[in-house]
C-alpha cells in the first residue's frame, strides 16, 4: 500500500520569522436545519392538502402547494432526499446492519404512507415535487385506452422490483440515478437524463402525470396503501348526478364510469376466468422468481466487485488498461479476496432475484384478478389506488358549484 498520508519526506520547517500556520476553516452548510425544515414542510403541506381535499374541496390550495413544492423541494432543495428514493435507503438498512438509516430519510419514507392510510395519496397531490411539476405543466388530457394504461401501470412494479434488487445487493440506487426530473431541478446533468426528463414533461402537457402513473415506484406502494384509506377522496359531498364532467377532468383517469363495467358475458364464464387467474397466481409468482433468478448472474454486473472481476478476466496492454484494473493492482488487493466477494455478491443477487421476481409475478397475477372482477357502479366513483388527490374534479362537479351560490 502506498503510504500517501503525510510521508514526511521533508521535515517540518522551523520558521525563524515568527510565521504562523494559517487557520483554514472549511465551510459547512447548515444542513441539519434545512433537513428538519424539510420534514416540517412535508408534514405541513400534506396536512394542508388533506384538509383541502377532505374538508373543503378546493383545487386552489392544492395548486398553491404544488407551486411551493416545485420551488422549495424541487429547485431550492434540488430534490434530494425524496420519498421515492428513500425506498432504497430503507431496503438497504433492512439488509445491511452496518448502514445506519438517517432518521429523516425514514420519516420521508413513512410519513406519506401514514398520510395515505388515512387520507389517500395526498403526498402525490402536490407535495411531491416530481408530481407537482407534471401537474403544473398539464393542460390537456388525452385519454389513453384502459387496456394500454393497465398494461403500463405494471411498469412501476418492475421499476420497484429492480430498485429493491439493486439496493439490497448494495449495487446501485437506480431510482436516484435515473430520476428524470432531478436534472431539471438542478439545471445540470447527463444529456440523456435531461432529454428523458424534458420529453416526459412535454408528454405531461398532453397526458396527465406520465411519471406518476407509469414509472414511479413509490406511487406503486402508495396505491396499495391508499386503496385501504379510511377517508376516501370524493368528488362531491352531495349525490352524483352522473354528468361525466369529473371523469373528463381527471388527469390520471382515476374516476370510473358507472355501468361501463357491466358484465357482457355469462356469469359462469367470468367466475371461471377469475378462478383460473387465482390458480395462475402461485404459478406466476414462482415463474417470476425463477425467470429473474436465472438472469441474476448477468444482473450482478451492476455491483462494483463483479464488474471489476469481469474486467480482470481480460488481458491488457499497459496502455489501455482500465483505471479500475490499474487501481486494483496499485492497491495490492488479492484476486482470491475479490473472488470470494464476487461469489457472495452473486449469491445474494440470486436470492434477491427470486424474491423480486416472485413479487413481480404476484403483482401481475393480482392485477389480472382485479381486472376480471367486475362490479357494477351506479354513479361515478373514484378509484382510490389511482387517485392522486389533485382536486381537479372538484370544480367540474355541478353539485359543488351550487354549494357556492347558496
Amino acid at each position: 500500500m502506498l503510504n500517501l498520508l503525510g510521508v514526511a519526506r521533508f521535515p517540518k520547517p522551523d520558521f525563524t520569522s515568527g510565521y504562523q500556520y494559517p487557520e483554514i476553516v472549511h465551510g459547512m452548510p447548515w444542513e441539519s436545519f434545512w433537513v428538519w425544515l424539510d420534514v416540517v414542510l412535508l408534514v405541513g403541506m400534506m396536512s394542508l392538502v388533506a384538509w383541502a381535499v377532505h374538508r373543503r374541496p378546493s383545487r386552489k390550495i392544492i395548486f398553491s402547494v404544488s407551486i411551493v413544492s416545485v420551488l422549495y423541494f424541487g429547485f431550492f432543495r434540488t430534490g434530494c432526499v425524496c420519498s421515492i428514493g428513500s425506498i432504497q435507503n430503507v431496503v438497504l438498512a433492512l439488509v445491511d446492519n452496518n448502514y445506519r438509516l438517517p432518521f429523516v430519510v425514514l420519516l420521508f419514507f413513512l410519513l406519506p404512507l401514514l398520510f395515505a392510510i388515512f387520507f389517500g395519496r395526498v403526498f402525490c397531490a402536490g407535495v411531491c415535487p416530481m408530481g407537482a411539476l407534471q401537474e403544473l405543466v398539464n393542460v390537456r388530457n388525452f385519454r389513453i385506452s384502459r387496456a394500454v394504461a393497465s398494461a403500463l401501470s405494471f411498469f412501476p412494479w418492475i421499476y420497484l422490483g429492480f430498485a429493491i434488487l439493486y439496493a439490497a445487493t448494495r449495487s446501485q440506487f437506480i431510482i436516484c440515478r435515473f430520476d428524470p426530473f432531478i436534472p431539471i431541478f438542478r439545471l445540470s446533468g447527463d444529456v440523456g437524463m435531461i432529454v428523458f426528463g424534458v420529453s416526459l414533461l412535454v408528454i405531461s402537457i398532453f397526458i396527465g402525470r406520465p411519471f406518476c402513473r407509469f414509472l414511479c415506484p413509490y406511487g406503486a406502494i402508495l396505491s396499495v396503501v391508499s386503496s385501504v384509506a379510511t377517508k376516501r377522496v370524493e368528488v362531491t359531498k352531495k349525490s352524483c348526478i352522473n354528468c361525466m364532467l369529473c371523469h373528463n377532468a381527471c388527469p390520471v383517469d382515476a374516476i370510473r364510469e358507472p355501468y361501463a363495467n357491466k358484465v357482457g358475458e355469462s356469469r359462469m364464464v367470468g367466475v371461471r376466468r377469475v378462478l383460473l387467474y387465482i390458480m395462475l397466481l402461485p404459478l406466476l409468482t414462482i415463474g417470476g422468481g425463477w425467470l429473474l433468478s436465472s438472469q441474476s448472474d448477468t444482473l450482478s454486473i451492476a455491483h462494483r466487485d463483479v464488474y471489476l472481476y469481469t474486467l480482470l478476466q481480460n488481458n491488457y496492454e499497459d496502455k489501455n488498461m482500465p483505471t479500475e484494473v490499474e487501481a486494483f493492482y496499485e492497491m495490492g488487493r488479492s484476486i482470491d479476496e475479490l473472488e470470494t466477494s464476487v461469489m457472495s455478491v452473486r449469491e445474494s443477487f440470486n436470492r434477491w432475484a427470486w424474491f423480486v421476481g416472485a413479487l413481480m409475478g404476484f403483482v401481475l397475477g393480482w392485477k389480472l384478478i382485479r381486472l376480471s372482477v367486475k362490479r357494477t357502479r351506479k354513479t361515478y366513483e373514484i378509484e382510490p389506488s389511482a387517485c392522486v388527490a389533485c382536486g381537479k374534479c372538484f370544480n367540474y362537479c355541478p353539485q359543488n358549484i351550487s354549494v357556492k351560490n347558496e
Binding site: 500517501l4 510521508v7 520558521f15 520569522s17 483554514i24 432526499v81 446501485q172 486494483f328 492497491m331
Partner: protein, 144 residues
C-alpha cells in the same frame, strides 16, 4: 455527508468529471501542518520543468488555482483558490509522489448537493468515497 478518505484516494481523475455538478464539488484541500513549504514543490511545478518560474507550461495546476507566497528563505506557503479548482487531483498526485502529501482531494460541503447516492462514489476506483456522520466533520490530514 459524503467524504473522500484521503488515505485511499488514488487520484484517478474521476472526481473532476463524474460529479453531478458541472464543476465538481471535489476540491483540493491543503494541510499546512504537513506541508514541507518547499521551493521545488511537486504539486506546484510539473515534473522535469526546465525553469522554475510561473509560466503556465511549468505549472502543475491546469486552472492556475495554486498560488504561493514567499515566507522566508527557503520556504513558500501554498494556497488553493477553491473557486478555480476543478478537483482533477493532478497536484495531489504530484505532492504525494514527490512531497509530504499535504495536498489532498476532499468534498467541499458548501458545494456538495448531498445526493442520496454520490455519483462519484459509484465509479471511484478505490472505494474511497463514503458517507460519514455530519458531526464527525471533514476527513482532513492536518492531524497526521
Amino acid at each position: 455527508m459524503w467524504q473522500i478518505d484521503p488515505e485511499k484516494c488514488l487520484q484517478c481523475g474521476r472526481c473532476q468529471t463524474e460529479c453531478v455538478l458541472s464543476v465538481s464539488a471535489v476540491k483540493c484541500f491543503h494541510a499546512n501542518q504537513v506541508c514541507g513549504y518547499c521551493d521545488l514543490c511537486g504539486g506546484y511545478y510539473r515534473a522535469n520543468v526546465k525553469e522554475l518560474n510561473t509560466a503556465a507550461e511549468n505549472m502543475m495546476c491546469p486552472t492556475g488555482a495554486i498560488t504561493r507566497l514567499f515566507v522566508e528563505e527557503p520556504y513558500f506557503e501554498y494556497t488553493i483558490d477553491e473557486s478555480l479548482c476543478n478537483g482533477c487531483g493532478k497536484c495531489v498526485k504530484g505532492c504525494s509522489s514527490f512531497g509530504n502529501g499535504s495536498l489532498f482531494l476532499q468534498i467541499q460541503q458548501e458545494l456538495c448537493l448531498n445526493c442520496n447516492e454520490c455519483k462519484i462514489s459509484k465509479v471511484c476506483v478505490s472505494g474511497a468515497i463514503q458517507r460519514v456522520p455530519v458531526r464527525q466533520g471533514y476527513k482532513l490530514k492536518d492531524h497526521a
